[in-house]
Amino acid sequence: MWDFLSQILQSLQLHHYNTRVVVSGVTVFGATAGVIGAFMLLRKRSLTGDALSHATLPGVCLAFMLSVQLGGTGKSLPVLLSGAMISGLSGLGVMLFLRHWTRLREDSILGIVLSVFFGLGVVLQGMAVNMKQGQAAGLSSFIYGRTASMLAADAWLIVVGALVASLICALLFKELTLLCFDQDFAGAQGWPVLFLDSLLMFLVAVVTVIGLQAVGLVLVVAMLITPAAAARFWTDRLAWMVWGSALIGAASGLVGALASAMVPRLPAGAVIVLIASAMFAISLVFGAKRGLIVRLLQRRHLHTSTSSQHILRALFELREHGDEAVPLESLVQKRSWTPRAVRHALARAVRAGYVRQAGDLWCLTEAGGVQAHRVVRNHRLWEIYLVSHADVATSRVDREADRIEHVLGEVMVARLEKKLGNELDGQRMPPSPHVINGHHP
């Protein structure tokens, strides 16, 4: 037990040189993938990384075979990665070519590049295995990643690639933002859209290639998508999203690599991706801007305010016809709502001090009267506007006005009053243009 704890402690303090290399390499990679991924997510090109990462395989195999032919061992990482880079870029070229010259859609193009290039890679791998010196074991580890065997030189490669990619992003931040949000505007402003687009894809290829070593070919795509998608739940601002995405990517890399160093038989690539996915799930639920809870609360808030406005209007309209205090039943009949909903809304209104209960009867308080007056006035202003300016039938106008009155701001109401000056004829409270519960106006 003590051994285990001290082992964890050692890992955490990064005592082992190897752990230190792996952890820092993977963390840097995670951050970079997060940055590039944020742009790709907003470009709606999330799966491009998937196609590009698969497209690197033939290059890896060819580089392996060539280097074996020339007398090398075929396992030199820079050689394999250059091969990956070249074939990733050819995949990118084919993608751009198909997009420009055929009417194939984006998703088909991705599928084509992914499967044909990977198929070619599998064919070449089949041949590489047959070669005399072909201990092609180094090859298959590319597909699943071999994080644990990362060397200092590999980590440096990642750091250099990451620095280049981040630097380009930082320098072209404004241009890339424009590209993500309004490509046509960017084109009209004279920005080289095709160049920027290709540059972004080139950065994806760079991230893919440095990630092959860190998490493996298939899971590279996760690091390009998941942190960015998770960060999107927290903010509406691009700069914050890029930082957040980088942070989430880095954290996944850090925690995943540490966990895999501490616990035996935990493949680092898979753990890193699963941690990123967990962060995605947490963000999905708790995200501050678009998270599930926030959106549910917003909806609930709207629902509550709507129903309390409804109850005030119902009481006001009944009072207009002489019923100061009304029983629950007549309120229920006012709208298509359940007695339970009415009781809830009444209870809330009582708490707010708008409604008073006297025995079985309910009536508006003074404050409630003022509030209800405002609500009903908004409703009727909008109704009159719809009838006189939008040609909505009087029999339908109640329902139409119901939809909009709750979101009318003060400025809007003032403008309505100005516009409807003639129809209002100086009245504080205009009569309803339609029949209310059998009472004619």
């Binding site: 599928g111 499967s115 198929g119 070449l124 047959n130 298939v218 935990l266 991706v273 699963l274 996915s277």
Partner: protein, 446 residues
């Protein structure tokens, strides 16, 4: 070499091609709908995501019994589609991104499970990705006295299933694919159809990739359908083309896997990879040669058009030179060429080609350093000039185009004016407009 190859051909090779072709047909049938519904990447997502299904089925049953593994994988495959849709809907995440998150998570989970629980057995992720088509004969069953490989039977079954689905639901699928709103108003349950399709994709992926490997499944789900889309605009034809291409890929893929490595003195390589490559070759051919969409036919159309425009420009120029003012002026061919080029027309090669064609058609005759119109040529030229000047009248009177811009606009329009259009223009011009706004006479119509 061919004799040697023919001798080495065995029933085994025939079974490989048969199995591959069945799998390709099953995939390309569904692929057409995936491609048209912009869900091409679903095959990729599902084939990666089934890994945990395989692992869990194995852990639970502790055997590689194919039925349980099949069910486990198919269930996870369908769940991939469900999760993708759920994350997309409740999280408002873009569809591609949600697919990416879901399938990579499942794949990572699968790797983890295999590494931890099933590491001591032969459940190699590589086997899932690459399949073992070369080993197709190892596991065969006897049907009606024939030794049929299990894999061929499986692929045949899903092929039948998919063909039946496409045949029975053809009308609904077509409407839901091209016009989802119309489908909903017609009472077609688009949701049920979507998940039905996804279930079949999952079943197909799982049934086929044991035999042929997921990379070929992904390729066959997308590439033949996309290729067929370049050849035709008819859904029925597209299905037929895609299915034939799928079969073609299977045959050529196996032949290629045996023959191509011999060129560099290597033994045969991976058949299913080669099948995917062959589908790419078919696609490349279609991109180049497809009748409407192909690059070659588009370039040929463009050259033909520019040749016609060059010829018409030459005729127009010669006609104008015959006017009383300039009559007798000899314009040499190089001068004509440079004038045409300056006005945005063709280059010198295009000019020479157009000149040769006009001479061959008997519209112009070479005379010394220049050339002149024949009677036939003069009639054709008059027609073009008539279109040109009628357009000038129309543009000036009806659209108020200023005088100095008229010529350039009419120069564009004269090449696309049909006889009927010319008649309409003539009708809209009054009698007093027998001359164009520059005061030149409009030639009479034929």
């Amino acid at each position: 070499m061919i004799a040697e190859f023919a001798n080495s051909w065995t029933a085994h090779d025939t079974w490989i091609i048969t199995t591959g072709a069945l799998a390709a047909v099953a995939c390309s049938l569904l692929g057409c709908f995936l491609v048209l519904r912009k869900q091409s990447m679903m095959g990729d997502a599902i084939s990666h995501a089934v890994l945990p299904g395989l692992a869990i089925a194995f852990i639970v049953t502790e055997s590689r019994g194919s039925v349980v593994m099949f069910i486990g994988a198919a269930v996870v495959g369908v769940l991939t589609a469900v999760f993708t849709e759920t994350v997309h809907r409740i999280g408002k995440v873009e569809q591609n991104a949600s697919m990416g998150v879901v399938f990579t998570t499942l794949f990572a989970l699968g790797l983890l499970l295999i590494e931890n629980a099933a590491h001591h057995v032969d459940l190699d992720p590589g086997c899932v990705l690459y399949g073992a088509l070369e080993l197709v004969k190892l596991n065969s069953v006897s049907v009606l006295g024939m030794d049929i490989p299990q894999a061929a039977l499986n692929c045949g079954a899903v092929t039948l299933l998919n063909a039946l689905f496409v045949f029975v639901c053809f009308k609904e699928l077509r409407i839901a694919t091209f016009d989802p709103d119309l489908a909903t108003t017609l009472g077609i349950n688009a949701m049920a159809l979507h998940y039905g399709l996804m279930t079949l994709v999952a079943v197909t992926v799982v049934a086929c990739f044991e035999a042929v490997g997921s990379i070929m499944v992904i390729a066959m789900l997308v590439v033949p359908a996309a290729t067929a889309q370049l050849w035709t605009k008819q859904l029925g034809t597209m299905l037929a083309v895609a299915v034939s291409l799928g079969c073609g890929c299977a045959v050529l893929g196996h032949l290629g896997a045996i023959l191509l490595p011999r060129l560099v003195n290597q033994p045969a390589t991976n058949t299913q990879g080669m099948m995917a490559v062959m589908s790419g070759v078919f696609l490349a051919v279609a991109v180049l040669l497809a009748p409407q969409q192909g690059i070659v036919s588009r370039i040929v159309r463009r050259i033909t058009l520019s040749q016609r425009i060059a010829a018409e420009d030459i005729l127009g120029m010669l006609y104008r030179l015959e006017s009383p003012v300039t009559q007798g002026t000899i314009v040499t061919l190089p001068d004509m060429s440079s004038i045409l080029r300056a006005s945005g027309g063709v280059g010198s090669t295009g000019f020479r080609l157009a000149l040769r064609k006009l001479t061959r058609d008997g519209k112009i005759v070479r005379a010394g350093a220049g050339c002149g119109l024949t009677d036939a040529g003069r009639a054709a030229a008059a027609d073009i000039i008539r279109s040109h000047r009628l357009w000038e009248v129309y543009l000036s009177h009806h659209l108020g185009v200023p005088l100095h811009e008229l010529h350039f606009a009419a120069e564009q329009l004269e090449h696309v004016t049909t006889p009927a259009m010319q008649q309409e223009l003539a009708n809209s011009a009054t009698d007093s407009e027998a001359r164009d706004p520059h005061g030149r006479e409009i030639p009479k119509g034929r």
